[in-house]
């Protein structure tokens, strides 16, 4: 970090330095704000990035949210943007916007560890499509964010590089697995970020850090370059400080990519144009199964107040049933671990990453994998291999796939009656670091409200819905029908505009 970073700072303090730099240091930047400031020449893209790096330098040692800073690449990009401004050329939609990328998403030439020792020195030879699209739209990638190892976890405590602290309550976890991506946005260390969601890994940290966080439909955003955990579930999506900015990022990364055969050909609507449409009269489903036992009383109160707000906005609330909700955790932990055990077979010490030497090939595999993977990853490989193994495949994996059909059917049935579904994002507010690490099953159970949408492939957002005792953030989740991102964003925007974050 230091050498390149200092060079970067030097550039900023040169003769073109912005005279009103102090003002920018404390400003809450939005995508539109950045674009206006650049166009009006109030600040250069390079100065803006340098300001963010300065904040990162001061806050990151305590938060541990960034693992790697990509200062050189950021500088190349800011030079390009500043060149456009100087030449009075049109600015692309994310011109100069400082963003962060979760460390399971590949970045050419920038170390991508997946929060794992086994990829400690891995430098991808290509960019993920989402990264390529962000940069083509003018965004400046500041660095890579901490996460649970291979995105397996709900608290960011499974990172080989130490946990991230929740910027809103530093004795608490930021959620996971995209804890770093949520924390950097919440702490003002990036204007927006990319995370990934397999069972709740975007939405739950968004909820815990009090920022909007979106998972599009399965197939909406290309997974090319996303280092795979569970391929039928993994999705890339944005964090930002407003729903409008979440929409702007999704707009850029969404759409068909020939490099990912599961990315769809469905057209991408103009999300920001759809945002302002009125929500009056929309039917919102409240599934009874998401409001049972096990929900924290403080969370319940905030969510109920949030739902009332939608009523005041003229939406019609509809009681619905989603009878297979209670089976979602069991189903998810069969399917996700089975797919993980297969995907993680590639870490064998041959082509990339760690190798622990031995005289025989098989012993080299065993030792490399034994030493390179952390506890949660090994646990899931063992469980996933077991549920796929001869004699257990039908009882577990096939059974899980069948129940997945039933859970998807619950959603299809619901969307014949309602336009969207409202639920809490997490049954609990951010918990204390270390509080839940001893019992993996208890950690898994906290994913109850998010894994359903993952299994069904539908889009979902978590929007801030007040803070318990003014301190611990609560997130309200909105599910939409497949490829109904515009509707989800529109509702989230209306909720945010109506003061949802302060209920």
């Amino acid at each position: 970090m230091s050498v390149l970073f200092l060079e970067f700072q030097e550039g900023r303090t040169g003769k073109n330095a912005c005279p009103t730099r102090k003002m920018h240091m404390t400003a809450n930047w939005t995508i539109d704000g950045v674009k206006e400031a650049l166009a009006a020449k109030k600040i250069s893209a390079r100065e803006l990035a340098a300001d963010f790096y300065k904040r990162i330098e001061s806050r990151n040692p305590e938060l541990n949210a960034y693992l790697t800073l990509s200062t050189e690449r950021a500088r190349r990009q800011t030079d390009k943007i500043d060149g456009l401004v100087a030449g009075a050329k049109p600015l692309p939609p994310l011109a100069g916007v400082p963003v962060a990328v979760k460390d399971v998403i590949g970045t050419r030439g920038i170390k991508t560890t997946c929060g794992s020792k086994i990829l400690e020195n891995y430098v991808p030879p290509y960019d993920a499509t989402a990264v390529e699209r962000l940069e083509a739209a003018g965004a400046v990638i500041l660095g890579k964010t901490n996460c649970d190892e291979f995105a397996m976890g709900s608290s960011n405590e499974n990172s080989a590089y130490g946990p991230v602290k929740n910027p809103l309550a530093q004795d608490r976890v930021p959620g996971g697995s995209s804890g770093g991506s949520a924390a950097v946005v919440a702490a003002g260390l990036a204007v927006a970020s990319l995370g990934t969601d397999t069972g709740g890994s975007i939405r739950q940290p968004g909820s815990f850090c009090g920022v909007p966080a979106m998972m599009g439909s399965y197939g909406r955003v290309s997974r090319y370059g996303l280092i795979a955990f569970a391929s039928s579930l993994d999705r890339i999506g944005p964090f930002a400080t407003s729903v409008k900015d979440v929409a702007a990022i999704l707009q850029v990364i969404a759409g068909r990519d020939p490099h990912d055969s599961t990315s769809t050909t469905a057209p991408v609507p103009d999300y920001r144009a759809e945002l302002e449409k009125p929500v009056k009269g929309l039917r919102l489903g409240i599934p009874k199964e998401y409001f049972g036992e096990g929900m924290d009383a403080g969370v319940r109160k905030k969510i109920e107040t949030g739902i009332d707000l939608f009523k005041m906005l003229g939406c019609q609330l509809v009681d619905i049933r989603m009878p297979h909700t209670d089976y979602a955790i069991a189903t998810y932990y069969i399917i996700a671990t089975a797919e993980a055990s297969s995907n993680l077979a590639r870490y064998d010490g041959v082509r990339y990453g760690l190798r622990v030497d031995d005289d025989s090939l098989l012993a080299m595999y065993r030792k490399t994998r034994g030493a390179g993977f952390g506890a949660e990853v090994k646990r899931r490989i063992v469980l996933g291999t077991y549920v796929l193994s001869a004699g257990y495949y039908d009882a577990y994996y096939l059974k899980g796939q069948k129940v997945r059909s039933l859970i998807a059917q619950d959603f299809r049935d619901a969307f014949t009656k309602v336009d969207a579904i409202l639920t809490p994002t997490s049954p609990v507010p951010p918990f204390k670091l270390g509080e839940r690490t001893a019992d993996p099953l208890q950690m898994y159970l906290a994913d109850i409200y998010t894994v359903t949408g993952s299994l069904a492939g539908v889009p979902g957002i978590s929007v801030p819905c007040g803070k318990i005792d003014g301190k611990l953030p609560v997130g309200l989740q909105i599910f939409g029908a497949p490829f109904g991102e515009a509707r989800v964003l529109q509702l989230a925007r209306a909720f945010e505009q109506a003061g949802g974050a302060a209920v």
């Binding site: 039928s232 069969i334 990339y352 031995d358 034994g370 646990r379 063992v382 069948k402 993996p440």
Partner: protein
């Protein structure tokens, strides 16, 4: 008990995963508890339910299945080998596989 020590050993062998004694017992106990929980799926009669491997239908990714079979240059071999644990371009080097 759903899973035995021998089961964990067998699975670790299948997954080429070296586990310490401590890990072996810890995972056995934890996975036993998880499988116990997963057992609740047996409350559901799924005899007539189709398994779901993925959520998209073929028509949603149509051009993927119908694309032309073209050769596209990739040219990352040098970069890839540069970061390999043990490379002798254009090869990856591994411990001896075939015993004589």
């Amino acid at each position: 008990m759903k899973i035995s020590r021998e089961d964990v050993l067998r699975v670790a062998e299948l997954a080429y995963l070296e586990l310490s004694e401590g890990e072996l017992e810890m995972y056995r106990a934890q996975i036993d508890e998880i499988l116990e929980y997963i057992g609740k799926l047996n409350e559901l009669d799924t005899a007539k339910v189709e398994p779901m491997a993925q959520v998209l239908s073929d028509d949603q990714t149509a051009d993927a299945t119908l694309r032309e079979d073209l050769i596209v240059p990739c040219a990352v071999a040098e970069d890839v080998l540069k970061h390999a644990p043990d490379a002798e371009p254009p090869y990856f080097r591994v411990p001896k596989v075939i015993e004589r």
